[in-house]
Amino acid sequence: MSPYVIRRLIALIPILIGVTLLAFLVSRALPGDPARLYAGIQASDAQVEAIRERLGLNQPLYQQYCVYMIGQTCLGESGGGGLIRGDLGESIRTGFSVADDITARLPATIEMVGAGMLFALAAALPLGVWAAVRRGKLIDRFCRFISTLGVAVPDFWLALILMLIFFVFLGWLPGPVGRLDIKAIPPDGPTGFYTIDSLIRGQWETFRNAVSHLILPMIAIGFPAVAPILRLTRNATLSVLNSDYIAFGRASGLRGPPLYLKYVLRNALPGAVTMTGLIVGYMIGGAVLVERVFSWPGVGLYAFASLQANDYPAIQGFVLLSAVTYMLVFLVVDLVQSVIDPRVRLK
């Protein structure tokens, strides 16, 4: 790993400590009492109090935070745990380790968000270039319509509408039952992405099944991202098209797809890449609702359920995961920028 990357990773640590404190306090500020939810409606006050004691929720806040961060050592007891040892605590709701819960659900979310991002880029980049080249023409106006629509339509609403059309009315795609048909057996693969794993295993039927389940969530989470990337690409392309190097390229016989998709797009790309980074962060938030709509068993759905149960460790774990993802994405964005444009120096 380059020294630059290592420095960037080290710089993440203080930020992440701040994030844990914030996540800790915000989850405590949520209305509702996890001990009462855990105990159930029938439980007596004494039972609730006992549960509260067992979960450590009767301790002062600073002590709870200390235990969360450095484990039992904080109370002067021996024994492990704590965030510094990679222990995110135990979920109040599921009773499993939060780290295990998240790891099990992460591939589903990455598969959906990744597919959504690819969908958004595959649509937005060529359309953006095309709209700029044919400025003011029909395609440009179509793109402006798409952009406006993308900003105006919330992803969870789009998810419901897509479902209504393609599942309820047309019956072309499966309903909201998760990543596979209920009877289907998940592929046993190394990545946890059903589409990739089934391909690796050569299970075509499972692959078809996984893809058909992925299409609607992919569009629902990806479509809102098309608008900003499209608009940015279009505007960047317009200024690139006016540049001396494109004029010279044209004068030297460059035209058609090689001109636009290679020489123009590469120069118009940096803005779109930065925007993509921002959008990944937005998508993690969007995943909570979209996964809910499609019963997609990812971390978003987990976060949603955890929120309803006031499951403090799980909520904190999700917030921390989002923060880490967001910051890693930005590191990747900076690395990609330096690959696209040699003038970008990383230091």
């Binding site: 001396d244 004029a247 010279f248 030297s252 016989g253 120069n267």
Partner: protein, 319 residues
């Protein structure tokens, strides 16, 4: 000998404003034609019209236009000539190379595109081309990005790109603007040498008459969207027929000899201004009433052609 590029009555309007008002230009095989004039005279627009590279919102018309015997009026013919039959050397070399691709990549891309070479053949040819534009360490330049090279080096690379398609004509649009004076001379000499080495013709657009004297065989002097005077470089420098060209030459000469700069009174008309029959008449020391009332005739004398009622020679014969 018939002309390689022959342009008659080229008119260009940009957003309704007349920029070129009937340009006649011809370039003979093997020669370098200098196109001179002040900023706004329409020199670059003439070149861009030939390659169909005018800005959006332009309207072009020709009375006739042919290149190597081919009718050049159809847009498609002019577009297909870019790079293949006509090479182009740009004004701002550093900005004219794509900033995110290595120089060698851009050059071998041009070779693959224009000559259909394979990847390896293109690389070999690219290195040869870099050598032929007098780059001493072609391997290093090949691997460089434009921002790592000097302006003069970038211009050599641009010239190599212009040569890549083995064109019959190379148009250089103010190729030395923004370069150091010492580098300017080198680039011009290189341009002149390459034109004869590669058996092509050249069209050198410049506002610097000194440049023309060094490398051009013939000169076309433009004023307000028209060619007002053409002739061999020697003739134009000795005694230009057209008063404007004549003044231009004597100003350049007085600058060279360190004399006080004299100027031509008045200013260059802007596109859309009301022009007299002879656009130069309001500034001309020989102007008489006919200059304002009648189109100037084409006069032919001493190997020159000029549009003028009162050319600077007694033997000028009106055609």
């Amino acid at each position: 000998m018939s002309a390689l590029l022959e342009l008659r009555g080229l008119e260009v309007e940009i957003q309704g404003l007349p920029i070129l008002r009937g340009v006649d230009i011809e370039v003979m095989p093997g020669e370098i034609l200098g196109v001179v004039g002040e900023t706004g005279a329409g020199k670059s627009m003439t070149a861009r019209a030939v390659l169909d590279l005018l800005p959006a919102g332009s309207a072009v018309s020709f009375r006739s236009c042919s290149f190597g015997g081919q009718d050049f009026i159809p847009v498609k013919a002019r577009q297909e000539a870019r790079g293949h039959r006509i090479g182009f050397v740009p004004q701002r070399p550093r900005g004219s190379l794509n900033p995110v691709f290595r120089v060698g990549h851009q050059l071998s891309d041009a070779l693959r595109r224009l000559r259909g070479l394979g990847r390896r053949a293109a690389k070999k040819e690219a290195l040869d081309l870099l050598r032929s534009v007098r780059i001493t360490d072609p391997e290093r330049v090949y691997r460089s990005f434009p921002y790592e090279l000097s302006g003069g080096m970038c211009q050599r690379v641009c010239i190599a790109v212009a040569l890549a398609g083995e064109p019959e004509l190379i148009i250089a649009d103010e190729p030395t603007t923004g370069l150091d004076v010492t580098i300017q001379a080198e680039i011009l000499r290189l341009f002149g040498d390459l034109i004869s080495e590669h058996n092509t013709a050249g069209m050198l657009i410049t506002h610097d008459l000194g440049v023309v004297a060094d490398v051009c065989d013939r000169v076309a002097v433009m004023y307000a969207g028209r060619v007002v005077n053409t002739g061999t470089t020697a003739e134009i420098y000795r005694e230009a027929l057209h008063p404007y060209a004549n003044r231009l030459v004597s100003i350049a000469a007085s600058l060279d000899s360190g004399g006080a700069p004299r100027e031509i009174p008045g200013r260059v008309p802007n596109p859309g201004d009301d022009l007299a029959s002879c656009a130069f008449a309001p500034r001309c020391f020989r102007a008489e009433s006919d200059c304002f009332e009648q189109e100037p005739p084409l006069v032919d004398a001493e190997g020159q052609l000029a549009f003028c009622h009162h050319p600077l020679t007694s033997e000028a014969v009106s055609r």
